[in-house]
């Protein structure tokens, strides 16, 4: 698969409707594409470009700026080990070294079975539990070498499938509500929102 499938094309069109200008939906849409295929396939980039009336080069030019987007295949599990300052002080580099040995890959490499891609990452904001890592952006803190090996085994066996979805899946909650892009409050349309339970109508806030 490469172009967005019917469901994902619908999601893409819904994203366009959220913003006053369609291009704002580009990055969220690329996340949808990456969720579908695990990485950004050329045909998906072309499809996203079509939907936004951009060229594939413009889409690629934006995507390539951002660390989370991959324009080449990656493993089912993207293992991102932090070595920034708080982790450095608590054994982050030693953890990365262990991970490289344990998985047999380094520097963004992928294991032969396609299970794991290992990367060194900048601060992932879990410094209270350094050293830490993320797998497909689900976070694990206070990771010892032993815990690392257990974690990889659990990921491989599927024991953590609920906590850690496949690479590319960012948000498993769909927005179920909303208004189309609104240039002004007056132009707001959309479903009636139920008024607050058990309360009277507050006064008008005056000028809005």
């Amino acid at each position: 698969m490469a172009r967005l499938n019917a469901d994902n094309e619908k999601r893409a069109r819904d994203l366009i409707a959220l913003y006053p200008e369609s291009r704002s939906s580009l990055i969220p849409m690329l996340h949808v594409a990456q969720e579908q295929d695990g990485w950004l396939m050329p045909d998906a980039i072309a499809h996203v470009a079509e939907l936004l009336d951009l060229t594939a080069a413009e889409v690629y030019g934006t995507a390539s700026f951002y660390d989370m987007f991959f324009t080449h295949p990656v493993g089912r599990h993207l293992v991102s080990v932090c070595t920034n300052i708080a982790c450095l002080l608590n054994g982050g580099f030693e953890l990365l070294e262990h991970a490289e040995k344990s998985l047999g890959v380094s520097g963004g490499g992928t294991t032969h079975d396609g299970e794991f891609t290992l990367e060194e990452v900048e601060c992932i904001a879990l410094c209270g539990e350094a050293p830490c890592l993320a797998v497909n952006w689900r976070f694990f803190g206070s990771v010892t070498p032993e815990r690392f090996d257990t974690l990889m085994a659990d990921l491989r066996s599927g024991a953590l499938a609920d906590e850690v979805p496949p690479h590319g899946t960012l948000c498993r909650v769909r927005r179920s509500v909303g208004l189309p892009a609104a240039a002004t409050p007056e132009s707001v349309t959309g479903p009636e929102v139920p008024s607050a339970p058990g309360g009277g109508r507050p006064q008008s806030p005056g000028t809005t």
């Binding site: 070595t83 601060c123 948000c171 806030p205």
Partner: protein, 434 residues
């Protein structure tokens, strides 16, 4: 100095069972600030925020109310909430996004109401997958509850919120880069002037950009009044603030304390806070406000957590993250790792930053690995001086944004405070710490 017993504000619900759900939020006073705000004139909401003297919690520390007052007149105007927390060792917004998303939504709607915004966007760092899920679920709940959408709580006010995921780029925490990114482009900062967001922001329209922690304070301020907030803290540093404490302490974590009334020593040593340095070791140095901030030594540990006091002492409270380094730390390695971070994250627009960060990374690395020369210390300062002329604080800059002048902080601090340690690396051809 003794700790105050000021109650926490933005973290007060964290720890409640399923604190991220609407039912838990409502059980603990949620959306009362917004209900009150809807009975007020927008100008009166701004007045309360001005009275509170709430300083921005993202890093620059600008007065939130003053920022709102500077919003240019043309409409539409937009509100953008900055949840792209990426400053190394800062992890407070991550916690708020995951554990109290409704407070962020309530604060955002109050902000939008006060400034008369047409739409609001909450930009969440892409890596925060759980935060994005919880924010999205909370938005769905907030719509159903009538707290977002058409005729909020039966009033005439309507607003739509969008949870916008980022995609991994430190620079997008800079407000103009964030706006570029939100427009679907590479995260290149815009030059100021003219591109102050309050004048020319999202889609060229006047835009308020506030940090997640900043807006999380708004429901409390509206409910309790700006004066109650201003009664906490000292001088310009009012209210409470979350400090992210990490490194060599026994109890790393996020601590919300009253501004100015607590010192770095309290934060590091108090058994209710940091609980002291690990293994009873001695303090060697600490970073007072994120990786961009110049370092302090043990002689500064009695300074108060006060924005102006820290500024006067030659650094900044910045993003509120304090990194503690004990006597076993190799300062060359610490400074090199931070330098490499900036090299990786430079957006590449400005030559002094793009090229300078690469040079500095290379020089720092060879010193750390024992391949440095004594002249490298002067060379480091020379390159730093091209990015931030004069190497003073606050820094001057030769770049579009402040990422550039943030690069020298760890290098100049390291060399000035630990010159002998740098020289030992050079002379012995190895790191003395192994």
């Amino acid at each position: 100095m003794p700790l105050t017993d000021a109650a926490p504000i933005v973290t007060r619900r964290i720890g409640n069972a399923r604190s991220w759900t609407l039912s838990s939020y409502l059980d603990h006073g949620g959306y009362q600030g917004l209900r009150k705000a809807l009975t007020m004139a927008p100008a009166d909401i701004t007045a309360e925020v001005l009275t509170s003297n709430l300083l921005g919690r993202g890093g620059a520390g600008f007065e939130a109310g003053k920022k709102w007052s500077m919003l240019a007149k043309p409409r539409p105007a937009y509100v953008v909430i900055n949840g792209d927390e990426s400053e190394p060792a800062t992890f407070k917004d991550h916690m708020l996004l995951e554990n109290d998303p409704h407070q962020i939504i309530e604060g955002t709607v109050i902000c939008a109401l006060a400034v008369g915004a047409a739409q609001a966007f909450i930009f969440v760092r892409g890596e925060f997958a759980l935060g994005i899920e919880r924010m999205t679920a909370a938005l769905n709940e907030a719509y159903a509850h009538g707290a977002v959408g058409r005729n909020i709580f039966g009033s005439d006010f309507s607003i739509d919120l969008v949870i916008h995921p980022g995609a991994g780029a430190y620079i997008c925490g800079e407000e103009t880069a964030l706006i570029e990114s939100l427009e679907g482009k590479r995260g290149f900062p815009r030059i100021k002037p003219p591109f102050f967001p309050a004048a020319i922001g999202l889609y060229g329209a006047p835009t308020i950009v506030n940090n997640v922690e900043t807006v999380s304070n708004l429901p409390w301020i509206v409910e309790n009044g700006g004066a109650a907030f201003a009664a906490l803290g000292i001088g310009r540093s009012t209210g409470t603030r979350i400090f992210s404490l990490s490194g060599h302490v026994n109890r790393p974590g996020n601590y919300e304390v009253e501004m100015s009334k607590v010192s770095f020593r309290d934060l590091i040593e108090d058994p209710r806070l940091g609980g002291g340095i690990r293994n009873g070791n001695k303090l060697k140095a600490f970073i007072p406000g994120g990786a961009s901030a110049p370092w302090f030594g043990p002689d500064q540990v009695d300074l108060a957590l006060d924005q102006d006091a820290v500024g006067k002492a030659g650094s900044m409270l910045g993003s509120g993250s304090i990194v503690v380094m004990d006597e076993t730390t190799c300062m060359v390695r610490a400074a090199w790792r931070i330098t490499r971070f900036f090299h990786r994250e430079s957006c590449g627009q400005c030559t002094p930053c793009r090229e300078g960060s690469g040079w500095l990374d290379k020089i720092m690395r060879r010193i750390e690995e024992g391949a440095g020369r004594e002249s490298d210390l002067d060379l480091l300062f020379d390159v730093c001086d091209n990015i931030a002329p004069g190497l003073s604080w606050p820094p001057r800059q030769t770049t579009i944004c402040v990422l550039g002048p943030s690069i020298p902080s760890s290098i100049t601090s390291g060399v000035r405070m630990f010159r002998d340690e740098f020289l030992t690396h050079v002379k012995e051809g190895a790191c003395p710490y192994g």
